[in-house]
């Protein structure tokens, strides 16, 4: 491998801004962000090789406006969690910019980060390890407010009461330890704790994935209500398509580190413009009997070595791939001013109704490849 990472080599082929938002000024702008992880064995180090390099994020660009709700959807290895963590600098990308209110947070100093940290908050996936078992619920929730000087010792109890009722938790729970609470209750605590910092953006990193269905419904509704009441901007990271459908107006689909489709949720689900999106919708369980459907071949791989790989990363599994998919990297194609996909085929063909919104799926116009 030569000195220039492939991410840098591709940088000039994409527009830096994300027109899918229309005219509204974005508060968060992710531009050409890339992140590579290298795994070097002892042999690699000795031979001064670079080892297995995986491109967790490949040139991702995205904009989010105030009070937006954007879903980040992908399976394992998609890079969605890496991206979410980059927003709060738990992970430092190798290339690109992340601008929050026009300030690049990747270039910010520690002091500046402190104030930025408060305004972008993360709610984590595992309710059982995202709360410190040694700290009482009430203390944990109000701590961010105290640390950032939003309340003082006098005003803290009132604010705590406010936060607890906002997330629908009984005040009596404030003195308990996390082990006394159920998974759903713990997630509410995690949300309350994030809200205590009075953030502008709330990033929910698979925040409902570990919950029972009935509890999931509660937390989804809670997030929707909080977004309205507090004017929050919501970034909802999930691998479950259905949970995002009602919560978020825009959806970004990621596959192996790349942003493959972006657009209004209803439109993307009704007429997906990328083979992977179509596969995800197709694979989503429920509604149609499995025996009567065709499926998607291949596995969602763990991030593969990042060799120079021209062509579409999904082509080996795509029902619609043709020759051009192997030879040229698909450029982003704007189907409407708000809806884009990195695909050679689907954006140019007619509408592909998938069954979301219709009960039958009509694929007679497109020849699917023979799949297992």
């Amino acid at each position: 491998m030569n000195g220039v990472s492939e991410a840098e080599a591709r940088q000039d082929t994409l527009p830096a801004s994300d027109p899918s938002m229309g005219e509204a000024r974005p508060i968060l702008r992710i531009e050409a962000v890339s992140k590579e992880f290298a795994k070097r064995s002892l042999a690699d180090r000795v031979a001064k090789r670079s080892g297995v390099r995986t491109l967790a994020l490949d040139d991702v660009s995205l904009s989010i406006g105030a009070k937006d709700a954007l879903a980040l959807v992908g399976e394992s290895g998609s890079g969605k969690t890496t991206l979410a963590r980059s927003l709060v600098r738990l992970i430092d990308p190798d290339a690109g910019r992340i601008e929050f209110h026009d300030q690049d947070i990747l270039e910010s100093s520690r002091g500046e980060m402190a104030s930025i940290r408060r305004r972008i908050q993360l709610v984590y996936q595992d309710p059982y390890s995202s709360l410190n078992a040694a700290i009482r619920i009430g203390d944990a929730i109000i701590e961010p407010a105290l640390v950032h000087g939003l309340v003082d010792k006098r005003t803290a109890p009132a604010r705590l009461g406010e936060l607890l009722s906002q997330v629908g938790l009984n005040e009596a729970l404030a003195d308990r330890y996390p082990r006394a609470l159920s998974g759903g209750q713990r997630q509410r605590v995690a949300i309350a704790r994030a809200l205590a910092a009075e953030p502008e953006i709330l990033v929910a990193d698979e925040a409902v994935s570990a919950l029972d269905v009935s509890v999931q419904a509660q937390v989804i509704r809670l997030l929707a209500r909080l977004r309205e009441e507090l004017g929050l901007t919501l970034i909802f990271v999930s691998h479950q398509l259905a949970t995002v459908a009602q919560l978020c107006e825009r959806v970004a689909i990621m596959y192996r580190g790349q942003l493959v489709e972006l657009g209004p949720t209803a439109e993307v689900f009704a007429t997906p413009r990328h083979g992977y999106t179509a596969a995800l919708i197709e694979a989503h369980p429920g509604g149609r009997r499995l025996r009567e459907r065709t499926g998607t071949a291949g596995t969602t791989p763990s991030p593969a070595p990042s060799l120079q790989d021209p062509g579409c990363l999904f082509r080996h599994r795509c029902a619609y791939a043709t020759d051009i998919c192997a030879s040229e990297t698909p450029p982003p194609v704007w189907v409407t001013p708000e809806h884009t996909a990195r695909c050679h085929i689907l954006p140019h063909d007619g509408a592909l109704a998938t069954g979301a919104g219709t009960s039958e799926r009509d694929v007679s116009t497109l020849p699917p490849r023979a799949l297992k």
């Binding site: 399976e75 394992s76 938790l169 159920s182 509890v215 499995l290 025996r291 596995t299 791989p301």
Partner: protein, 344 residues
């Protein structure tokens, strides 16, 4: 008791049926019933789904079927009929394991032994249970890996679990499970830990294997969508009881029990614009169940009589709610104030 052989079995006679299964665990303040009076059956070539949320007893029930209830829990009542032969003790059931009954677990990462190659693990089943020779076991193992869709099976025999993806590992587990041509395959959340696209493949694989061998499948999951896709019959469990059972079409089309209805309304859908409906409260603590119906504290149609109903009798019927017929089309989420289901 002579077991009925396969030639006399029609498709309607259940190949496995469970009656009155009760599993108890000792708790801090007395005994906790993880499964109460569980009753269901599956016919030859059928797929039964057992669905419910945390603590409903679905996993414990499955494990009880092959004598795998973890200590200090134990089966205190009930029987399992497999191919007409009745088994009652955990030890008898354990004998069936690997032969007539086989189990596939949720997490392929921890179910496969990380220090042995997958070929060795599959061969082991064949040698131990069926007495194959080393060579014969190896040949059969390659064939099994091929049947479950692992590409280049001969080469893969020497791979270790960590070299395979989650979906591949699950396929290996399935290969081990079908090695002895079981009559019934028990699957405990086999796809929960997998990506959606992989999940689809694994479910498809299970159905194909079933078509080829005629084995029945009992699939335990919390995902109603998976049940919808794959199962013929469904049993819905709550707090250790089977609160509703029936064919998939009947359940999806006209669910009777308020919990089933609540569960279906709470399921997020791709193609609706409204947020999922909520069941208030949280899944029950088995140690502190209220008298009567365990769902009463959360039920939008609860009434006074609910604390007096006899669950043990009602769970023998198709729907454990005696008032379900009368309520008709009452909406599941009662009231906007409750719509978010504030916990605690």
């Amino acid at each position: 008791m002579t077991p009925m052989d396969s030639t006399t079995q029609s498709d309607d006679v259940p190949i496995l049926s469970v009656e009155g299964l009760c599993v108890e665990f000792p708790g801090e303040h007395g005994v906790v019933r993880a499964a109460s009076n569980v009753r269901f059956s599956v016919r030859r070539g059928g797929v039964l789904g057992v669905v419910g949320e945390s603590g409903c007893g679905k996993s414990v029930t499955l494990r009880a079927l092959c004598g795998l209830v973890p200590a200090p829990g134990r089966v205190v009542a009930g029987s399992v009929d497999v191919e007409g032969v009745r088994y009652q003790s955990a030890r008898e059931l354990a004998g069936l394991r690997g032969e007539k009954l086989s189990m596939v677990f949720q997490d392929p990462a921890s179910s496969l032994n990380p220090v042995h190659a997958i070929g060795a693990q599959v061969s082991e089943v064949l040698r131990v249970k069926l007495g194959y020779s080393r060579k014969a076991a190896r040949a059969e193992a390659i064939e099994l890996l091929d049947r479950v869709g692992i590409p280049e099976p001969a080469r893969r025999m020497s791979s270790y679990p960590h070299e395979l993806s989650g979906g591949m590992r699950q396929r290996v587990m399935i290969a081990m499970a079908i090695a002895c041509r079981p009559r019934v395959l028990l699957a405990d959340e086999p796809t929960t830990a997998l990506d959606v696209t992989t999940q689809e493949q694994i479910l498809r694989l299970l159905l194909r294997l079933q078509d080829e061998s005629g084995m029945a499948i009992i699939l335990v999951t919390h995902d109603l969508g998976v049940i919808e896709e794959v199962c013929d019959e469904v049993a819905v469990m709550y707090a250790g009881y089977v609160v509703e059972r029936g064919s998939i079409d009947r359940l999806i089309g006209s669910p009777k029990h308020p919990y089933t209805r609540g569960l279906m309304a709470a399921m997020p859908q791709i193609d609706t614009r409204s947020l999922p409906e909520v069941i208030v409260g949280q899944p029950p603590d088995l140690a502190t169940l209220p008298p009567g119906c365990p769902f009463a504290p959360r039920c939008p149609q609860v009434r006074e009589e609910c604390v007096r109903i006899e669950m043990d009798e009602l769970t023998l019927t198709d729907c454990a709610c005696p008032f379900s017929e009368a309520t008709g089309d009452v909406p599941v989420a009662a009231g906007i104030a409750q719509a978010e289901g504030a916990g605690a």
